[in-house]
């Protein structure tokens, strides 16, 4: 059997991410039959960055203002005792309110589904939206819960130990989606 490659592989370049986000923005408008009562909610941290880009794209194409919120699901995780000794809690901001709204949750990578489960729990504490949809830039499979995304930027099938790194300009200095094989994690 040939040895598994340990090289990182870029599956979406900055240009490809931008093109993918444009398509996702159109799909969000189609899915919600316009922008009435629409609110885009990013999951901290990269989901928030991507939600911001999607909001800008929708506003450019539709010429309307779209409310944006952010969710930090750390306090809704089911594994507080297993996470590192310095759990970082980020801000949650849903100042527009979600009662009766069409909420689109945005995250960078969909994997086990546990983050989305936590996000749904947290949203339920803020009110009762008319509908909740999920948009992710990358769906890597490997679900542990019965959760699926309504809008997917890119589907990749990779080994459980591998990692998908989504990089965004504001946090990482460049935009790309990279697959990091498990064996390659220790390499410089």
């Amino acid at each position: 059997m040939p040895a598994r490659t340990t090289e990182q592989k870029t599956v979406l370049s900055a240009h490809a991410v931008e093109r993918t986000l444009k398509r996702m923005a159109n799909e969000i408008v189609e899915l919600n039959d316009g922008t009435a009562d629409l609110i885009i909610v990013g999951i901290q941290r990269r989901g928030v960055q991507l939600a911001g880009r999607l909001v800008n794209l929708i506003e450019e194409s539709e010429g309307v203002e779209v409310p944006q919120g952010s969710l930090d699901i750390t306090l809704y995780r089911d594994d507080l005792q297993t996470i590192g000794p310095r759990p970082v809690v980020g801000p949650t901001s849903l100042q527009w309110g979600i009662e009766g709204m069409n909420v689109v949750i945005v995250d960078d990578v969909l994997y086990t589904g546990r983050t989305v489960r936590a996000a749904l729990d947290e949203l339920a504490d803020f009110g009762r939206p008319a509908r909740i949809a999920l948009a992710v830039l990358v769906d890597r499979g490997g679900r542990e819960l019965p959760i699926h995304a309504d809008i997917v930027g890119k589907r990749v099938l990779i080994e459980p130990g591998d990692r998908v790194d989504v990089m965004v300009d504001d946090l990482d200095g460049r935009t790309a989606v990279v697959i990091v094989p498990a064996a390659g994690e220790d390499e410089p």
């Binding site: 989901g47 809704y76 594994d79 507080l80 297993t82 000794p85 901001s93 995250d107």
Partner: protein, 330 residues
Amino acid sequence: MTSALGKDLLGLEPLSSEQILLILDTAEPFKEISERAIKKVPALRGQTIVNLFFESSTRTRISFEFAEKRLSADTVNVAASGSSVLKGETLVDTARNLEAMRIDMVVMRHGASGAAQFLAERIESNVINAGDGTHEHPTQGLLDLLTLRDHFGDLKGRRVCICGDVLHSRVARSNIWGLQKLGVEVAVCGPRSLLPNAIEEFGVRVIPRIEEAIEWADALNVLRLQLERMTAGYIPSSREYNRVFGVTRERLERAPRDILIMHPGPMNRGVEIDSDVADGPHSVILNQVTNGIAVRMAVLYLLSGGRPELAEAAKGGTGRRGGAEMTEAA
């Protein structure tokens, strides 16, 4: 691996500046939870916390209880007046009995300095010191730091004067250690009879007159004058104390810069602080109360986390991936 704070929170003296900043940074997002319609998150669901108060305390106990309930923990309050302590049971026996009921944390207020450490060394549950004698009151010190940071941002180089009965004050000690670790210059001001003999060894400046303290400081932390001190001969009378050391509007009007007024409560209005100062524009006393819940939520949360060995034991050793700051969402 234990939590970033270790097993217990006994005081601010043993903490590093990084640990103190971690607590303050963690408290920031917890403020927002208290603004929600449903003021509750499930982070400590299934954990049991005992509030063991051997000394009467209303606001600290209620603040802890709010913090615990907002994190979804199950709480039990035990007061000395209603416990077997009156029947002669020792502190350790009380705690061991509670621990045998499978509790996870003890929040303890006790009249003896060092009681929290004594307990922490003998039980496996996390222990949080809610005030031990004249030693420390760490969560009060932390909420004071958070309140100051809300107003000043970086605290380095700021000046805080602690006014009043420093001798008997656990709040003063926690403040001195916490403030100094964050680079704040600290002074004390009060009657010499209510300052510890070797107070200079704490590295603080002693300011003899309240007018000078107001001129020097960016913030005054005014301590409560316990009325029993008057009968013990520490000061002539509360009227005399107010005349010489009271924080009054007239005195504050002569301050050369905006000055924050803090007080850990409960206040003796007209003694250490006048009503128009306590309720005036410089006062952040109610902000301190609000911040108290956020800081206590942060401490409870941080002490509960980062203990994978507990989770592994509970699951029978099945491994699971973790990491709060994961690049990749789950």
